[in-house]
C-alpha cells in the first residue's frame, strides 16, 4: 500500500491561538475570524494553501469558496509562497516623486526578480504595492511587516546585503513634520527625545 503524506492541520495543537482568535468576536460574528485566521496561517507559512483554506472554512463553518472569495479580495494574502523577505515597494505618487520607480528598478536588478516573482531559493520576492501611508518619508520599502523609509541607493544596497546574510536591520524611526529632531515638549519628569533606537 502506498503511504500518502497527510498534512497536519495548522491549528492542531494550537487550540489556544485558535481560541483567542475566535474569542475576539461575538458568537453571531464567527465569520469575522476569517481574516485573522488567514493572517495567522500566512505569517507562519508565507502563503495560504488550498488545504489551509479548507481548514479555515471548516473552523468558521462556511464553504471553502467563501474563504477563497474573501482571501482573493485582498492584495496582501498570497496563494503562492513569497520569499523569506517579501520586498514591497510603494509605487504611488508621493513615493514615485521621491524615486520609487528607480528604486524598484534597482531592487529588480539586484535581486534578478520582476514584479510578483519569488526567487528560486525562496529568499526574496518582489511586489509593487500602493500607498503605504508613509508619503512624508518617501520612498518606502516594506520588508515583511517592517517599513524602511526615506530609502536611498546606499541604504537600499546595505539593506539588501544584510537581508542576503539573513539579518533584518532595525529601521531608523522616521517621522518628519512636527516631530523632526529631538525638541519635544516635556512629558512627565524627564525630557524625552524624538527617536527610538
Amino acid at each position: 500500500m502506498i503511504e500518502l503524506d497527510t498534512i497536519k492541520p495548522y491549528f492542531e495543537g494550537k487550540e489556544d491561538v485558535l481560541g483567542e482568535i475566535l474569542g475576539r468576536y461575538p458568537d453571531y460574528g464567527r465569520r469575522s475570524a476569517i481574516m485573522p485566521l488567514l493572517w495567522e496561517v500566512q505569517r507562519a507559512e508565507r502563503h495560504v494553501s488550498e488545504a489551509r483554506l479548507e481548514e479555515i472554512a471548516h473552523i468558521v463553518g462556511v464553504h471553502a469558496t467563501e474563504v477563497k472569495g474573501v482571501m482573493s479580495f485582498y492584495s496582501t494574502y498570497h496563494e503562492q509562497p513569497v520569499g523569506k523577505y517579501h520586498l514591497q515597494i510603494c509605487s504611488t505618487l508621493s513615493c514615485s516623486l521621491a524615486g520609487s520607480d528607480e528604486m524598484f528598478d534597482f531592487i529588480s536588478e539586484e535581486t534578478g526578480l520582476v514584479n510578483g516573482e519569488t526567487d528560486g531559493s525562496g529568499i526574496f520576492s518582489l511586489q509593487k504595492v500602493e500607498c503605504l501611508g508613509s508619503c512624508g518619508t518617501a520612498p518606502v520599502l516594506q520588508v515583511n511587516d517592517t517599513y524602511y523609509e526615506r530609502v536611498t541607493r546606499s541604504s537600499c544596497k546595505e539593506l539588501l546585503d544584510a537581508l542576503r546574510s539573513g539579518e533584518m536591520l532595525e529601521p531608523p524611526r522616521e517621522r518628519g513634520g512636527d516631530n523632526e529632531g529631538a525638541e519635544k515638549p516635556k512629558i512627565g519628569s524627564e525630557q524625552r527625545v524624538g527617536r527610538e533606537a
Partner: protein
C-alpha cells in the same frame, strides 16, 4: 445706529500665541505609547470626566457645540452623526474606528496609532459612551503592523488598568474593543465596505440607506469615525467645546493634522488650527519646496489639484474655502507636484491606483476606471496617443462622474479632471508628439 458686536477673533494660525499642539503632542516622543506616560500627561481624564460627570446626551451636545467635523475626508459634523443613533432598544450597538488610512498622501492616523494609541482608545471610550455602544471595533489597515502591535499592547494595558472593561471609572458603563486587521484594499476605508470586511465578507460597498446608524456592523446600530475624529473628541471633552470652537473659521473648528509630501524641505505631519493657509503649512512649517512646483493636491489624491500660485497659497485650509476653489479639504494630505514632472504621468499614477483598488462591483467604475480610463492613459504615456484622445478622456470623465455605486470612481476623476483643466497643454503635447513636455525620469536623488 447699531454697533456690530465684536466677534471674538478665531485662532487660525500657529503663530497665534494661544495655539498649542494637542492631538499630536505625544507623537515622536519616546515611550509615549505606554499607558504610564499617557497617564502622566493627563490621559483618560477626559473619559473619566465624560463617564462620571456627564450624561451621554451632554457628551454628544458638547461635541456638536465644538463644531468638530469628521476627519476621514467627508467632513460630516461628528456630534450630529452621533445623534443619529436610534433610541436604545436593547440591541448591541457598535462604535467603529476607521483606521484604514489608504488615500495616497495621507499618513496622519498611522503616527497617532503608533505613538499615541491610548489617545485613540480614550476617544473611542468617550464616543462609545455617548452613543450607548458597549463594543468598539478598531479596523486597522493590514500594512500598519506597527500600529497594530502598539494598539494590541495598549488594549492589554488599558484592560489591565481598568480603562476598558466593566464598570469603567465606577460608572455602569462597560466597554471593550475588538481590534481587526485589514489586508490591503483601499475600498475598505469606505465605511460600508469596512463593515463587510470586518464581518468576513468580500469588502464591496453596501447600498445606503440603510445608513450605519440603522444597520451597520452585523446589521446592528453603528457609528463610524476616523482616528483623528476620535482623538479630537478627547480634547473637546477635556478642554470644552468653547476652547475647541475658539480655533478655526466659521465652518471649520479646532485643529487638524495636515500632511505634506512631495518635494518639500521638511515633509511630514503638522498640526495647525483650521483656517491656516497653505502658505503657512508649506513654507513656514514644511520649509518650502525644494524645486519649482506647478500644482498641489490639497487633501489626499482624490481631491482636485490646484495651481501652485499666490491665490492658492493664501487660501485658508478649511472646508468652505477649499470647496470654493473647486476642491476639497479631504484628509488634509497635501501633495506637491513639481514643475518637471509630466502631469499626464503623475495623473496616470493615481488613475492606476484607483483602477487597482476598484472593487469591481459596479460597471462605471470597473469598466470606466479600471478598463477604459486605464487604457487611455496607458496609450498616452506609452507615446501612442493620437488626436481626439484627450477629448475622449474628458468625455469619459463626464460620463462616469456621479454614476458609480460608491465614491471611488469619482475619487479617481478628481486628479483626472483637474489636471486636464490646468494642464491641457501637457496632455495635447503628449498626444501629438508621443513624448511628454517634461521628460525628467530620475527622481531618486539620494
Amino acid at each position: 445706529m447699531t454697533t456690530i458686536a465684536e466677534k471674538p477673533q478665531l485662532i487660525s494660525s500657529r503663530k497665534d500665541a494661544q495655539f498649542e499642539v494637542t492631538l499630536y503632542k505625544n507623537v515622536g516622543v519616546e515611550g509615549a505609547h505606554t499607558l504610564e506616560t499617557y497617564l502622566e500627561g493627563g490621559g483618560y481624564k477626559a473619559a473619566k470626566k465624560a463617564l462620571t460627570t456627564m450624561t451621554p446626551e451632554a457628551v454628544v451636545d458638547e461635541v456638536k457645540r465644538s463644531g468638530l467635523r469628521g476627519r476621514g475626508g467627508a467632513g460630516f459634523p461628528t456630534g450630529l452623526k452621533w445623534s443619529f443613533m436610534p433610541k436604545p432598544d436593547g440591541r448591541q450597538r457598535f462604535i467603529v474606528c476607521n483606521a484604514d488610512e489608504s488615500e495616497p498622501g495621507s499618513f496622519k492616523d498611522r503616527y497617532l496609532m503608533e505613538d499615541d494609541p491610548h489617545q485613540l482608545l480614550e476617544g473611542m471610550v468617550i464616543a462609545g459612551y455617548a452613543i450607548g455602544a458597549t463594543k468598539g471595533v478598531l479596523y486597522v489597515r493590514g500594512e500598519y503592523y506597527k500600529s497594530y502591535e502598539r494598539l494590541r499592547e495598549a488594549l492589554a494595558e488599558a484592560t489591565a488598568g481598568g480603562y476598558l472593561g466593566k464598570g469603567l471609572f465606577g460608572s455602569e458603563f462597560d466597554f471593550e474593543i475588538i481590534l481587526h486587521r485589514g489586508a490591503g484594499a483601499y475600498i475598505c476605508g469606505e465605511e460600508t465596505s469596512l463593515m463587510n470586511s470586518f464581518e468576513g465578507l468580500r469588502a464591496n460597498p453596501r447600498l445606503k440607506p440603510p445608513f450605519p446608524a440603522q444597520a451597520g456592523v452585523y446589521g446592528l446600530p453603528t457609528t463610524i469615525n476616523n482616528v483623528e475624529s476620535f482623538a479630537s473628541a478627547v480634547h473637546i471633552i477635556a478642554k470644552g467645546a468653547d476652547w475647541y470652537a475658539s480655533m478655526g473659521t466659521d465652518d471649520s473648528k479646532g485643529t487638524k493634522l495636515y500632511q505634506v509630501s512631495g518635494p518639500a524641505a521638511k515633509p511630514g505631519v503638522y498640526e495647525l488650527p483650521m483656517g491656516a493657509t497653505f502658505r503657512e503649512l508649506i513654507f513656514e512649517l514644511a520649509g518650502g519646496p525644494t524645486e519649482p512646483i506647478k500644482a498641489l493636491i490639497p487633501g489626499g489624491s482624490s481631491t482636485p489639484m490646484l495651481a501652485f500660485n499666490d491665490e492658492t497659497l493664501d487660501t485658508p485650509m478649511d472646508y468652505g474655502s477649499i470647496a470654493k476653489k473647486g476642491s476639497m479639504l479631504g484628509t488634509g494630505g497635501v501633495i506637491l507636484i513639481p514643475q518637471e514632472k509630466c502631469i499626464v504621468n503623475a495623473t496616470w499614477n493615481l488613475v492606476r491606483f484607483y483602477a487597482h483598488e476598484s472593487c469591481g462591483k459596479c460597471t462605471p467604475c470597473r469598466e470606466g476606471i479600471s478598463g477604459w480610463m486605464t487604457k487611455m492613459y496607458q496609450k498616452l504615456v506609452s507615446g501612442r496617443g493620437e488626436a481626439g484622445d484627450v477629448e475622449l478622456i474628458e468625455i469619459m470623465s463626464r460620463n462616469i462622474k456621479g454614476k458609480a455605486f460608491c465614491p471611488l470612481a469619482d475619487a479617481c476623476l478628481g486628479p483626472v479632471q483637474s489636471s486636464l483643466a490646468l494642464f491641457r497643454d501637457e496632455y495635447e503635447h503628449l498626444a501629438e508628439h508621443g513624448t511628454p513636455k517634461y521628460t525628467k525620469t530620475n527622481w531618486w536623488s539620494a
